[in-house]
Structure formats: C-alpha cells, structure tokens
Symmetry: C2
Subunit: 367 residues, 2 copies
C-alpha cells in the first residue's frame, strides 16, 4: 500500500536548541505505522539496514550498536564494560563532568583532569596524566554542549596511541553526524551519540561504535552491563540481525529513513554544511557579541555566545519564540544561564535557516 | 490547533504475540507532533501528567519512574541499585533466567531457586531459601512470558514480610496493567514493566515503581546506576518534573494518551477484561489442546498451549497471518518452539478479538 499523506500536529517551532533538534516532517511521519513483532523478518530487515547504513555513513569497520535509550546510558555502560578500577575523566563543562559523576556513582576510582568551563582539553595534559598513573580508560567529550567547546580528539588520539592499555572513550553526543571524525584514525575505542542531536531524529535511540579492543576488554571482565553490554548487543546482532530486547520500533522506522538521507548527503558534505553554519554563526557573534569558549576550539554544532550586550536572554527567547516560532537556548547552568546564550546549528539546518534566527535576534534585540 | 486526521501506513496485522501488542491507531497518531525541547514547560506538563496518571492507575503511593529504555534495563538497574553482594533469583523460564544472568554479569553473588519450565515459584521454597542465607534481594517474575506462568506474588509477598532486609524485586514486564497487583499490599519494593505489553503502547519506554526502602538502599550504597538510578530519576522528577536526560518525546506523547485511556477504564475493570480473555482462551485450549503450565498458575495475559495435535505451528502461523492478518506466537526457545504455541491476550483486546484468532486457528487447522 502506498504511503498516505499525513499531517503533523501542533504548531511548528523551528528548533535551534542544542537538542532535540529539528526533525523533518517526513521523518516524523515514518512513525505512523502499526506495531509489528520484533522477532519478525521485517524487523531484521529494518535493523540490519539501519546498522549497516550507519557503519557506511560513519566510515567505520568497527561494530555499531543502536540501542533504545538515551546516549547517557552509554556514558554509564562504557565505564561498566571497560573499566575495572581506575579511569581518568577529562572535564571541561557540565556533560564531561557528568561522565565523571557517573563513573564515581558506579564505584570506580576516578581521577579528574579538570579544565575551567570554556577551555578545551589539551593533548599534552592527557599525556602528563597518563604518564603518572595507569588507567583502564580515559574519557573525553567531543563537543561540550554546555560551553560550545570542540575538543581536539584527533590530537588526543595521537597521545592515546602510546598508551594502548588505556581505552579511549569518547562522548560525541552533540557532535557525531555533524562534525567529521575518523574513528579508527583517531584511535578511539568507544564513541557514542544520541540520535536527537546532529542525526536529527526523534530522541529515544543511541548509537555506540565499539572496536575489538573494547569488546575484548568487556568479554574478559568480571562485571559488565547486560542491556548496554557491547558483547550482548554485538553478538545478538551478528547472530540474528535483531536486538536482544524489544526495541523502540517506531523510532527505528524514523531512524532508517533519516539515515538514508544522511548517507545520500554523505559524511563529509554534512560536515562541510555544519562548518558553514558554525562559521556564519561565529562571524555574526563576533560582530554583535563575543564567543564564549577558548579560541581555536569552537564547536561546529553548538555556538556558545557571550551576552556582552547584557540582554535579558529569557525575555529575548520568549519573544522570538512567540513572534517567529524559532527557539534557541540560554546558557547552561546557573553561572552561564544569563551570561551566555547558545545556538544549536546542527542536523538538517542550513546557513539560511540560521540566518532566520540571527535576523530575528537582531530585530528583537535592536542590534 | 485541532488534531488532524492521519492515516496509519502499511497493512494492519492484529497482534496476539506476547508483545509488542496491538496499539490503537489514535495512540500511534499521537506521535505525529513536531519535536520540542525537553526543558520546556510543555515537557514538564507532559511528563508530570504521565507520571501522576500512572501512580493513580496503579493505585500506588510509591515513586514511579518512566524511563526511555526497555524494561530489561530495570532488570539490570534494580540489581545495581539494591544488591551489594548476594541475590536470590527464582527461575522458571527464559525471562526469569535472564534476570539471574544479568545479576551474574554484573558480578553479583547469585543463587538460583530453580523450577522446571512450566512450574510456578512456591512461597514455601522462597521461605526455605531465605532461612538458609541472607540476601540483599530476592527476584521473581510476575508473569513468565516464555511458559505462561503467573507466579503467586501475593503469597510470596507474605513470606517477604518476614525478611525485611531482603528487598522484593518483581519483573512484571508482561503483566502490569493487565493483571491486578496490589504493590504495597504485596510487600513489593521494586516492580517494573515495559509499555509495549499490557499497557498497549509503542515500545521504548519502561516503568519502575520504587518504594522508600529501595530508594534508601540505593542512596546508601557504594555503587549504583546513574541513568536508571532510582535516586537520580526520582529526585530529578521531584525537583523539576522532567527527566535527567533527553527522553523519547514522541513515545511519551503516545504514553500520555494511552494512560488516560487506561485510567478511564480503571485498573480493576482492565484486570477483569484480561481475566475474561484468559478464561476464554484457556477453555478453548482445553477443548482442542491442553494448557502447558502448571494448573492454578495460568497467566492472565499470555496463554502457552500444548501442541497436542502435532500441528506445524510455523506453517499455521504463516497461513493465519496471510489469510486473516492476525499473528500469534510459537513456543519460546528451542525446546518449546513447536511443542507449544502462545497467545498474548493483553492490552486493548477483548474476548471478541481473541475469538477471531481462535476461529481462524480452528478454520485453518481444521479443528
């Protein structure tokens, strides 16, 4: 039966918040399908297509796990699966701190390589810390959503090469799919994201890319996650092309279609489009305000802008939402809430879309 | 703006598999909404409505956590959060065995109270085991989906009252919402389900009901889950009425509407409807075949029927699917696959719906 025309309910608000991002109408419409069994051939076809397309898009030979959860669970399970005792967590904002908090809550022995909010993690500091002590793993956020920092993963990966016993775990939640990363080339053992960021899909699924070293580490460990276990998910997929537990079927239908779209555009072209949006936003920010994060490490997906004009960000946001149906974000956390504001330029947006927002800000704030 | 008429795509197949179950068209259509921020008032309203309605429906004063995941993660996190060392897991089929496997994979000290597949867990055996050794928790499945056993939780709960240091953890994945349970009255400390079973919602969300004792146990423990941590979820909800991480927004829209429907019907009436379906199915099964599980413990939501007629279950299933657009399940696991078949009578179905399936089986199998 051919697809029928469907209408998306409710008022459309264009989202420039750092997630969930704008999801295309036709992707939302994919969820309009009756339930079907998760042990059916239909599911096998759906799930293998999604998984193989994701591998292709990311250009990786590593295993790809797509799980019904938020990316946060992979922050937890990558520690459960790969860290027996000691882990070094670099922190430079709220989400990288969360990674360290999670590891601590799991009862692990956590050392923090701490940076002031707005600063990036430096490869030489990582080397210094790894020289001093042996760690099971080192964690680093690719894109710190709270501060708008893009950490130099590629250079940090060069350092990690010299410490093969320390797994390199990367939280790429607001970056992957919108900011190109060569996973194998950067010596990354585990990298994960949520789909509601640069993938531009409805939230509820998360993706984790795992190499053999991380898989083996888990397989030989005394304790690990079952639900988000690398072994459990990868083995089940390789054997049956399905998920070990009932997955979020509706969201997977949306995923399949959006991943086809991403494949068609290609990782490098998508990366360039995000680069263009970031450069446009940065230029605009420097003209009217200032960038918050350390120069040289500005995020390609989220710009955190200093509120140098002392605007009331909450009022500004509300007015722009009401007048133009466009949303952006205030700063993250108590300290940055009014001192900065954030524009998420990721997913399916273009420079023209971002310009709509910046025009609206200029108009309403009288810049 | 009023809701618009939408059409669900693809062929409709009526599902009598033990999950995912049939989801009403208007519930699927709820997902047709543009994304919105998970830190918005709209989300607070959505999430608090869902949570409070669920408490009301279940008739519990305990805390309710609704998390973006499969119920399987609560099998894992309830062990992580409540068990420091020793846990007793009763096993009587595939899913209760999975609970024990998960606890073992987490590195816990697991004793199994094992029953043959098809037999129910007996209160006196639980007492005997708890007399012999101290355990942090005891796990029991309410409804063993693989064998169609409904364990006597209420009586087991009476035993648990005498062992207050041992938390009573119940996997109610294919039962809750379709089989009445008095949570507090049965001395249950932690009970969880997936929404794609008797709740009749699209998969991807899970519900966990936690009492103060379990919350305190976690709060005082050296290690626990963060993502599925009771404390993390409950505190965040109490403070902000939201989720700690981006949730599956689309699925939550469907949840809200279906929970309203469930509330309107009421827990007891819903229970009676499921009882009627179960009794009808059992009577039919006894006429033409035989029930597989131990008498006195037949499930109210999934009937596992002995294939006494030596039918080719796979062929039968395929023919009924093609001719009538109705699906049921074969037996679970290698041993029971062809020796039994399973009818899931849960969610929104009625006796009339089940009769459609049994008529079809009679017709095709020439009974």
């Amino acid at each position: 039966m051919p697809n029928q025309v469907v209408y998306v309910k409710d008022k459309h608000t264009k989202l420039f918040i750092p997630g969930p991002t704008e999801v295309k109408k036709e992707i939302i419409e994919e969820m309009e399908e009756w339930m079907f069994g998760h042990r059916s051939e239909k599911m096998t076809e759906l799930f293998t297509t999604m998984t193989e397309d994701t591998k292709k898009f990311l250009g990786t030979e590593n295993d790809v796990i797509i799980l019904s959860t938020s990316g946060t669970l992979f922050m937890e399970s990558s520690i459960m699966n790969c860290v027996d005792d000691k882990v070094l967590c670099s922190t430079c904002g709220s989400f990288s701190q969360r990674q360290a908090d999670i590891a601590e809550r799991l009862g692990k022995n956590v050392d923090r390589l701490e940076y002031e909010w707005g600063k990036a993690v430096k490869p030489e500091d990582v080397r210094e810390a790894l020289e001093k002590k042996d760690y099971d793993a080192f964690t680093c956020v690719m894109n710190e959503t709270s501060t708008g920092i893009r950490n130099p993963l590629e250079e940090i990966g060069e350092v990690m090469k010299d410490y093969p016993e320390t797994l390199f775990i990367v939280d790429a939640i607001s970056a992957l799919g919108g900011d190109y990363i060569d996973i194998e080339g950067s010596n990354i053992d585990v990298i994960f994201t949520s789909v509601q960021k640069a993938f531009a899909m409805p939230p509820g699924l998360a993706v984790c890319v795992v190499n053999d070293k991380a898989y083996e580490r888990e397989a030989n460990s005394k304790s690990a996650s079952w639900y988000a276990g690398f072994q459990r998910n990868i083995d089940y997929y390789n054997k049956k092309g399905q998920t070990h537990s009932t997955p979020a079927i509706s969201l997977m239908l949306a995923y399949r279609k959006q991943m086809k779209r991403m494949l068609e555009e290609g990782h490098k072209v998508r990366d360039q489009r995000h680069k263009d949006m970031a450069e446009y936003t940065q230029k605009w920010a420097k003209k009217h305000f200032d960038m918050f994060p350390e120069k040289g490490y500005w995020s390609q997906t989220v710009s955190t802008i200093k509120n140098t004009q002392g605007l009331n960000i909450n009022e500004l946001r509300q007015e722009i939402d009401e007048k133009y149906g466009i949303q952006f974000s205030n700063g993250y956390g108590k300290q940055l809430k009014e001192k900065t504001f954030r524009i998420g330029h990721m997913g399916e947006h273009t420079v023209e879309d971002v310009k709509e927002l910046t025009d609206a800000i200029e108009e309403v704030a009288g810049l």
